[in-house]
């Protein structure tokens, strides 16, 4: 048994960083803290940069496992960078928001960082218990973060709902895991797979029972219909940066687990569960996009839109193959970057005006052209328009589905994406067409604008020169199917 702890350096660093941030916040006296503005934030951000470096450099082309529980391979590396990146930008986007509307910065950043560990291990785990416990680590952090705001009543309500439903769904998930364990006799993915592939006869109903429960639990995590109901409420209630974080990390972590688990463990019986995923995908696309048509709050709109997006991503799971995994990773990357642009813009605007309603965006193009521009870029990208990431990643995603004979799902996905364009355009309409109450320019925010610019470049990069990212994603995906 290989217990090479050096494989886990990035996570140890993250844990240490979390401790450091909390400790710094506790120890530096309040008088000094005022002098070093955003101290905790900058510390955490710098630490995340280190974490990204540490995640990449030693592990290029590594393919090792830790005790059969954790894999450190291209896939893990991909998600380490991914999650650390998301956390980094969330931290950057949080700084001003934190100062204005939240408290306890040390704990806040600490929890963000620790939740990153959970997300990474969900992607890296090769065993159900490890994955489950990582999931709980991530979830607990998010429950707390969602309810972080003391000034906003909605925040604690969101935390409560998220928590209660999360606990409920994780019980369901566990029950599913137990059934799978019972049928296959193992909790490692490889063990499950061999337990299934040795099966020459019919598939056991117990296994399917377990899968239904497991899919429900995972579906909750990624917010697939009908397990989605927490999403709009949690998105709306949570502080904006946390909404951004949930939309990127929580979803991506769910899919990271989804991919590794389903490709590693359930590939032998794909024909028996494909319809479940396909059904969820279809339901998500339809419900998410339709309900989003009638939303007035930007967070809620994005929540429903993200439900629709989950539908697209589930298509890749339904069409599980090495190609589809690569496509999904690429799409996740594009989606996360796009979403971060969108949310960071929303946060930047919120920081200045406190506006969350879509109608409050009226006249943004004149008040803050840069924000409006980047927000439009992100919205168009989400709507699947070219020049931006969304077009290419969705294109590849759906193409993969068609390769696996899921033409109807791909068609539904394209249609959903078409519907989604309507409500994205409604936001753009507010920003560009409607006249705002004032034409006063919003002040320049260097940190936010810098972050938005970088992320926007990412959106354009994936949209216009996707080869490097796609190759990385594809390499990462190949690992799963060896």
């Amino acid at each position: 048994m290989n217990l090479d702890y050096s494989l886990l350096i990035p996570e140890y660093w993250l844990a240490a960083l979390a401790a450091l941030v909390v400790a710094a916040d506790l120890t530096v006296p309040a008088t000094h803290r005022l002098r070093i503005r955003y101290m905790s934030g900058w510390l955490a951000a710098a630490g995340m940069v280190v974490a990204i470096v540490v995640s990449i450099v030693p592990y290029l082309d590594t393919d090792k496992d830790f005790g059969g529980l954790i894999s450190v391979d291209d896939y893990t590396t991909f998600f380490r960078v991914f999650f650390c990146g998301v956390t980094l930008f969330t931290i950057l986007a949080s700084m001003r928001y934190m100062e204005q509307r939240l408290s306890n910065p040390g704990e806040y950043y600490g929890l963000l960082i620790i939740s990153t560990i959970g997300a990474i291990y969900m992607a890296a785990a090769r065993e159900l218990l490890t994955a489950y416990i990582s999931l709980e680590l991530l979830s607990f952090s998010l429950y707390i973060l969602a309810g972080w705001s003391r000034t906003d009543l909605r925040s604690s309500e969101a935390g409560l709902k998220y928590f209660l439903l999360g606990a409920f769904s994780s019980a369901i998930l566990l029950y599913g895991i137990s059934m799978i364990y019972g049928v296959t006799g193992s909790t490692t993915y490889a063990g499950v797979a061999s337990g299934l592939s040795g099966d020459v006869g019919d598939i056991e109903t117990g296994m399917l029972m377990g899968m239904a429960l497991l899919i429900a639990g995972l579906g909750f995590k990624v917010a697939a219909v009908p397990f989605h109901a927490w999403t709009p409420d949690a998105y709306e209630g949570a502080p904006l940066p946390i909404t951004a974080y949930i939309s990127a990390t929580s979803k991506a972590a769910g899919f990271a687990w989804f991919l590794r688990l389903f490709s590693g463990a359930f590939m032998p019986i794909i024909d028996d569960w494909r319809w479940m995923i396909a059904a969820l995908a279809a339901a998500s696309i339809v419900l998410g996009n339709l309900v989003a048509l009638r939303q007035t709050n930007i967070k809620r709109l994005l929540a429903y839109s993200s439900i629709g997006q989950v539908g697209y991503m589930l298509i890749a799971i339904a069409a599980l193959s090495p190609d589809s995994a690569g496509a999904l990773l690429l799409h996740l990357a594009g989606y996360a970057v796009t979403n971060l642009v969108l949310f960071t813009c929303a946060i930047a605007y919120h920081d200045e005006t406190g506006v969350e309603e879509i109608s409050g965006y009226a006249g943004l193009a004149q008040r803050a052209p840069f924000l409006a521009l980047m927000m439009s870029v992100a919205l168009f990208s989400l709507g699947g328009m070219p020049l931006f990431a969304g077009f290419l990643t969705k294109f590849i995603l759906f193409q993969v589905a068609v390769e696996e004979d899921l033409l109807w799902l791909a068609a539904l996905g394209v249609t959903g994406s078409f519907v989604s364009l309507y409500y994205y355009l409604m936001v753009i309409r507010q920003m560009y067409i409607e006249q705002g109450p004032t034409l006063v320019r919003l002040p320049f925010q260097p940190v936010m604008y810098g972050a938005i610019f970088l992320l926007g470049l990412g959106v354009m990069l994936i949209g216009l020169y996707p080869a490097p990212v796609y190759e990385m994603a594809d390499d990462a995906a190949q690992v799963l199917f060896v």
Binding site: F140, G147, E157
Partner: protein, 102 residues
């Protein structure tokens, strides 16, 4: 020896009861208690499988240990959240804490 299925049925009863509790209770604490019931059912399942299937590796037992630990942490965290909501709204009934909707 008691058949495995009987343990599973017992856990199924507990799990279903828990589901019913979550679906029908209004008080957040009671919902949490129902979830605990479900987790207990999970533990039974895990342990029974572990004992009947792979006693040498007893993965299920370890799993059950973790489930219990997580459940405990969950209760602690849930308590904090519920109490906080209660402080803000003077109610821990979930249908009264429903300002976020539609």
């Amino acid at each position: 020896m008691i058949p495995l299925e009987h343990f599973l049925v017992l856990s199924g009863i507990l799990f279903s009861t828990g589901i019913y509790g979550v679906l029908s209770r209004r008080n957040a604490v009671l919902i949490l208690m129902s979830v605990e019931l479900m987790l207990a059912a999970v533990s039974i399942n895990m342990t029974a499988f572990a004992v009947y299937i792979s006693p040498d590796l007893f993965t299920g037992i370890i799993f059950a240990v973790f489930v219990i630990v997580v459940a405990a942490a969950e209760v602690a965290l849930g308590l904090a959240i519920i109490v906080r909501v209660f402080r803000q709204r003077a109610s821990a009934n979930v249908d009264e804490v429903a300002s976020l909707k539609w």
